[in-house]
């Protein structure tokens, strides 16, 4: 189901945890809320769920105003960061819970509930563990029970708060791929919170980057990575370098040297230059370039990561070069960004 968040504001006491947040979530999409700790991701998720009520603003489920509905009426599936499995119930009872507590008019027959729970347990690949208690499962298995339990009620939207947060890197990767498969098979509209950008970029159809209670940018993983629209997003997603430059006559200058980049139409004056370590061209001669002395060079798999002291700036810059380029400390290197952006403060 389509979910529209409109001008939501949420205050805790005097502190605004969310400020004027609007977001359209399309039906059937897998969308990630990504941002640093305290940026309001969990708060937004809980507001959509109805576990928290907004100070201001509206949330629509389809065409219905959901803001006035209780969490029970919204029919969502919520997966908590620490699973929140019912520890005194077996796996199958956990999964069946949402169906068992329905009023008798809407409750399926006991045999159907059982069948549905078993199917879901099969779907999350836990067949054979129906009779186990949560304490007898591994972290990854608990996570999958939590997901099956949330899906059992055929939710309008599936909300996951850092679903893989408590797992080790290896299991995270497996579950990530697996979640994508499950999503593609079941087609639930899914919102998940993460502060791991790899997870967001790899898994989601669209990524919502949040900072300090606001949405910075919404876009596909490619858009977010290739065309960040704010210094925050540029700095937060992937690696990036910044240099304080000056725009003069449509050219970029670092102190008194031209970088060799033209910025037609940019207003004159100081600006910050942003570029990624791998978005550079090495130059032989320097007729307008960034030049620096290698201070550190390390090989990481197929590339060489090189740290430079740039002439005309005190900032360190990191660039990535093919591993066969010899860049021992002390070597001079001239280069020019081939993809970059200017931001003004």
């Amino acid at each position: 189901m389509e979910v529209r968040v409109q001008d939501i504001r949420k205050d805790f006491g005097r502190f605004p945890a969310l400020d004027k947040v609007s977001l359209d979530i399309r039906s059937g999409e897998l969308i990630a809320l990504l941002g640093p700790s305290g940026s309001g991701k969990t708060t937004l998720l809980r507001l959509i769920a109805g576990l928290e009520s907004p100070t201001d603003g509206t949330i629509f489920f389809g065409d219905d105003d959901a803001s006035k509905k209780t969490v029970q009426q919204r029919n969502i599936g919520f997966v908590f960061q620490h699973y929140a499995l019912f520890r005194h119930m077996t796996v199958i009872d956990n999964v069946a819970f949402g169906l068992k507590v329905r009023p008798s008019s809407r409750r399926p027959a006991a045999a159907d509930i059982r069948k549905r729970a078993e199917d879901l347990i099969e779907l999350v690949q836990l067949g054979g563990l129906e009779k186990r208690y949560p304490a007898q499962l591994s972290g990854g298995q608990r996570q999958r029970v939590a997901l099956a339990r949330a899906m059992a009620v055929e939710p309008n939207v599936l909300l996951l708060d850092e679903p893989f947060g408590a797992l080790d890197a290896q299991v995270r990767k497996e579950l990530r791929r697996w979640l994508r498969e499950i999503h593609d098979r079941t087609g639930h509209t899914t919102v998940f919170v993460t502060h791991d950008q790899d997870e967001a970029l790899e898994l989601a159809d669209r990524v919502v980057v949040m900072s300090k209670g606001r949405i910075e940018q919404v876009g596909t993983p490619d858009e977010i990575y290739d065309t960040p629209n704010s210094p925050f997003v540029f700095g937060f997603i992937g690696q990036s370098n910044t240099l304080p430059v000056r725009v003069e006559n449509g050219q970029l200058w670092l102190e008194d040297r031209s970088i060799g980049l033209s910025a037609p139409g940019e207003p004159e004056g100081p600006a910050e230059l942003y570029f990624r370590p791998h978005d550079i061209d090495l130059l032989d001669g320097c007729g307008g370039c960034l030049a620096g002395v290698v201070t550190l060079s390390r090989r990481v798999a197929g590339t060489r990561h090189v740290e430079l002291d740039i002439a005309g700036s005190t900032r360190r810059i990191e660039i990535e070069l093919p591993s066969d380029v010899a860049a021992t400390p002390g070597t001079r290197i001239a280069f020019r960004p081939n993809r970059w952006r200017l931001f003004r403060s």
Binding site: F86, H88, R102, A150
Partner: protein, 295 residues
């Protein structure tokens, strides 16, 4: 032998004793002997005396003493008071613990302190409070009197005093447990469509049942054994407002030792049964209790 007897009392299994760190044998046996001597002197010996005194003239005299109509009335009254006070405090305790552990509100710290009040004031003072509230010179006393309601020196007063004194047991057992468990289980249940009542019944209650059982056991033991507060409000009307502890005192003051110790035996048995049930629960469900407490 001593090893077997002491290991459980030390709060763990025999591993604890075996994993003994660096203390010398002498120190270890010294400490064990000391604790045994202490337990013997202050717990076992008095208990033994109570039982021997009660049975001094044989079981016949013992049962005769218990069958005495006034004593029998005291036993019935004690059971009645506990039967009212314990369920009330079960409900109050859950409500208070729930409010404190799961909600944020102003005055929470104050409420927490207030719950401990019955533990921190002398039971006699607790009783006096009710005398001041309901006595003939109080605010409420005359009004109640004119409506024919008798609180003081009657069963309602005894129940009130008992409820007051035993209030903290359930709440204090539950508050840390519920705080530790947080609210996410309840939120999960609600998000799955469960009503408030279903959430309480299927999720909250099972999560706290062991703590609740402990609290109720302790609450019951105290409700039946309370002396001070009840003594102040009861009026000591024979066969009417004497509970078992008060009856023990009266019989003892009348030099009816067999009678006094016979009733005391029943109270001591209650304490023993409480302990046995508690240990049994801990032994039988230790894994589940531990699982319920962690997380």
């Amino acid at each position: 032998m001593a090893h077997d007897a002491v290991a459980p009392a030390a709060g763990g299994t025999s591993e604890m004793v075996r994993s003994a760190t660096s203390e010398s044998r002498l120190a270890r046996y010294g400490l064990i002997a000391l604790s045994l001597a202490f337990v013997g002197l202050f717990l076992v010996l008095p208990l033994a005396i109570v039982f021997t005194e009660a049975l001094r003239k044989g079981p016949g005299a013992f049962f005769e003493a218990i069958a005495d109509p006034e004593t029998w009335a005291a036993i019935r009254l004690t059971l009645l008071v506990a039967a009212i006070a314990v369920p009330l405090n079960l409900v109050f305790g859950i409500a208070a613990a729930w409010a404190i552990a799961k909600f944020e509100f102003k005055g929470k710290a104050f409420l927490t302190t207030l719950i401990d009040l019955p533990f921190s004031v002398s039971p006699v003072i607790s009783g006096l409070v009710f005398v001041l509230l309901f006595g003939s010179h109080s605010l409420l006393g005359p009004w109640l009197g004119s409506h024919g309601i008798k609180v003081l020196f009657a069963v309602p007063g005894i129940v009130l005093a008992t409820v007051f004194v035993t209030f903290p047991f359930v709440a204090r057992e539950l508050i840390p447990l519920m705080q530790e468990q947080g609210t996410s289980d309840e939120e999960a249940a609600l998000s799955l469509g469960a009503s408030g009542w279903q959430t309480f019944w299927y999720v909250t209650l099972p999560n706290i049942k062991w703590g609740l059982l402990y609290g109720v056991l302790l609450c019951n033991a105290r409700a039946m054994g309370e002396f001070g507060a009840v003594s102040v409000v009861s009026g000591h009307i024979r066969g009417m407002t004497n509970t078992m502890p008060l009856q023990v005192e009266i019989l003892y003051n009348e030099y009816n030792f067999i009678g006094a110790f016979a009733v005391a035996t029943l109270l001591a048995l209650l304490a023993l049964v409480t302990l046995v049930i508690k240990s049994l629960l801990e032994f039988k469900f230790s894994a589940q209790i531990a699982a319920a407490r962690k997380h």
